[in-house]
């Protein structure tokens, strides 16, 4: 099981690349500009990986997105980010 991080908005073609690269157990963590992907309007883009999408609390909070975050997205803080990298065998970053 791998962890993938993404820091680009859901309109970026990089999202297509990470989705193509994700295995059936892999997890996706949205950080930086990618947390815009946690908005309900964007959940269609993450259909193939629903339930395995995480977003960084601090990046949601600084952007005013915490209250707008879709409930299908799991919110983790920086310690949770560290924990994800421990649990997953490897981390691949997409930017």
């Amino acid at each position: 099981m791998l962890l993938h991080t993404l820091n680009r908005s859901p309109r970026s073609p990089v999202l297509d690349q990470v989705l193509a690269a994700m295995g059936p157990e892999d997890r996706l963590l949205l950080i930086e500009d990618a947390v815009i992907g946690a908005l309900p309007a964007h959940q269609g883009r993450f259909e193939s990986v629903t339930g395995r999408v995480y977003a960084l609390h601090e990046d949601l909070a600084s952007r005013g997105l915490l209250a707008l975050c879709d409930e299908a997205v799991r919110v983790v803080d920086i310690a949770g980010f560290v924990a994800l990298t421990e649990e997953c065998e490897r981390t691949v970053s997409w930017y």
Partner: protein
Amino acid sequence: MRYAILLLDAPYTSQAAHSALRFTRALLAGGHVVDGVFFYHDGVHNAARLAAPPQDEPHLVDAWAELGREHAVPLQVCIAAALRRGLLDEKEAARHGKQGFSVEPPFELTGLGQLVDLGLRCDRLITFGP
């Protein structure tokens, strides 16, 4: 676990350096070992000793240096990526006939082989890109 960090963008231009610094601090707080932070691509600008950000913004260069010193984390800067971007330590400045230098310890200029070595030696390599 043993971690390595690869940082690929400059401070202030993108958030990558801020994320990498916070993540590295969280690793250390969680009891992990950080075998090195490797600065590549525009990440080499994190070593810019002349950086003078506004007083009310975090000073990333100083923050990395402090982290490196306090926790004995090697701060390795890719020498090829650094030279073309104007980041030279005293030795490289002399070699290239330049007056003055822009990188100082605890940052160290090193080869890309260190990145490969770090990546294969550590349990985890985490990349922060622009």
